[in-house]
């Protein structure tokens, strides 16, 4: 830097760099003094207690359940801001919930990487339907999805529900429809899923949550 400045002050600007004897000594002694001061401990930079500040200090914490597998580990979502009206929140970090008796704060590699699932461009965020014979997935509203599913369930149950078997024994079963339930539920959610669909007579229920 000093060399460059010296060159800049030189009247022969634009030529190759000229340093006269005096300038050379100035530059050399300034350089030596600077590096000696640093070497002797007079460093201009301040020492920080931690080189990186704790990033969760005032984030909002939200409890949730890891959606990956049947273990259903508890997680805490840390989001920016305090939910104030004019602030947009955004999840910036996810880690295990130490108060959850299932995992007590630990997470497997999939759970530990949940943040990247939240922001994955491939993540499904709304209901879609692929009509029979079609190759395309079409986005539909939640209302439409619920209505269509309810209609299909009712029609199929009305057509195929068996109250008794061939021997006349009461079986109350509905075998033509199965359910793949969400694994992102806790124990209570799993219990309700089980209750609703077993009551309808469905026997083919599966989920990673092993209801």
């Amino acid at each position: 830097m000093s060399m460059l400045l010296a060159a800049h002050n030189d009247p022969h600007k634009g030529d190759e760099m000229h340093l006269n004897r005096r300038q050379f000594f100035k530059v050399a002694s300034a350089g030596l003094t600077g590096s000696s001061l640093v070497a002797m401990g007079f460093s201009p930079t301040a020492a920080l207690a931690e080189t990186r500040q704790f990033k969760l200090a005032r984030t909002t914490e939200t409890r949730n359940t890891c959606p990956y597998c049947s273990v259903a580990c508890g997680v805490i979502l840390y989001s920016l801001g305090d939910n104030a009206k004019n602030a947009k929140s955004r999840i910036i970090h996810i880690e295990g919930d130490p108060d959850n008796p299932v995992n007590r704060g630990s997470l497997c590699p999939k759970g530990a990487g949940l943040l990247d699932m939240v922001y994955s461009p491939k993540r499904l965020k709304h209901p879609e339907v692929r009509e029979p014979g079609s190759k395309e997935w079409k986005r539909i509203s939640w209302d439409e999805a619920f209505t269509r599913i309810a209609r299909h369930l009712k029609d199929d149950r009305d057509a195929n529900f068996q109250a008794t078997n061939s021997k006349g024994e009461i079986v109350n079963r509905w075998l033509s429809t199965g359910l793949l339930a969400s694994s992102a539920t806790n124990n209570e959610g799993g219990y309700l899923t089980h209750k609703v669909f077993r009551n309808l007579g469905i026997l083919n229920v599966d989920t990673q949550a092993r209801i």
Partner: protein, 296 residues
């Protein structure tokens, strides 16, 4: 938990020493590790680093080495017995910074304050002050620091100094599903290691032991090894030492050089005071100018 900096690279002014704070340590029990790599993921997530997606090289090592964005990696070792093909062992070790009590990286670092050691034992790199010379890589007995290709600065595990400073455990420790990584005071972790070693020896692993090498003053990341007589089986040096070049250069050569510099400065001053500046007499000057004109 305010932390003092007890050591600072390339700095001769003494650091604060009066306050006593608790030394912390991480204990990695390799006998309980299943190699799931949750620690790798949690580390990247917490520290906001994402490594490039690599390729599989035929082993479970992925990434195959520490990088400036992978501060911890699982290393897998296959131990074969030439005489007994059923005597096969698959060893797994979480690799990363050992946070030596006597850190070779800090000793080798020429940039003031780029490497610091806190009073709790954590050795941390301050990239703000890093000049990217790579001396820490040479100075490290465990080959841990890596220079980033994007900013040419050195990076490594911080033992989550930002978490530990507010009373939390490091991210890898929290996530570990088998409890193979533990965190506490150095004293607690040493005791924990002893308990586990006794347990393993009782189960027929006579060579089980703790790895807390004295050659670097002990470490703040310790291991429980199934065969502590040969740490090298899991890629750990049997007796790590700071390279003699670093010790010589920073231990003996540096003060000598400093004394030389001081002598030169004082000598210059004396010369100036006693002899004065070297001035050219007017006669000589006139003579030279005549010569120059004659040349033209």
């Amino acid at each position: 938990m305010a932390l003092d900096i007890t050591r600072r690279s390339a700095t001769t002014t003494p650091s604060p020493q009066a306050r006593d704070s608790v030394e912390v340590a991480k204990l990695i029990d390799t006998t309980r590790c299943i190699g799931c790599k949750a620690c790798q993921v949690a580390c990247m997530e917490w520290n906001d680093i994402r490594d490039e997606v690599g390729s599989v090289n035929g082993t479970y090592n992925n990434p195959t080495d520490l990088t400036s964005s992978s501060w911890t990696v699982m290393r897998f070792f296959e131990k074969e017995d030439p005489n007994d093909r059923f005597n096969f062992e698959w060893l797994i070790r979480k690799d990363g910074c050992m946070h030596c009590a006597d850190p070779g990286c800090l000793k080798a670092c020429p940039s003031p304050g780029a490497i610091v050691q806190y009073s709790n034992g954590i050795v941390d790199f301050n990239q703000e002050n890093c000049i990217g010379c790579g001396y820490c890589v040479t100075g490290c007995p465990f080959n841990v620091p890596r220079i980033s290709k994007s900013d040419s600065k050195a990076y490594k595990c911080t033992l989550c100094s930002d978490r530990v400073a507010v009373g939390l455990e490091p991210a890898c420790v929290k996530t570990c599903p088998t409890g193979a990584i533990m965190f506490g005071t150095k004293e607690q972790m040493t005791a924990q290691a002893e308990t586990r070693v006794t347990e393993l020896q009782g189960r027929g692993h006579g060579k089980a032991g703790a790895y807390d090498p004295a050659g670097v003053g002990g470490t703040h990341v310790m291991y429980v090894l199934k065969d502590a007589s040969q740490p090298v089986l899991m890629g750990l040096p049997n007796d790590p030492q700071i390279s003699p070049t670093v010790s010589l250069w920073k231990g003996v050569a540096k003060p000598v050089a400093m004394a030389g510099m001081a002598l030169a400065a004082i000598g210059g001053l004396f010369h100036y005071v006693m002899k004065g500046p070297n001035e050219v007499s007017k006669e000589v000057e006139a003579e030279v100018e005549k010569e120059l004109e004659a040349e033209k």
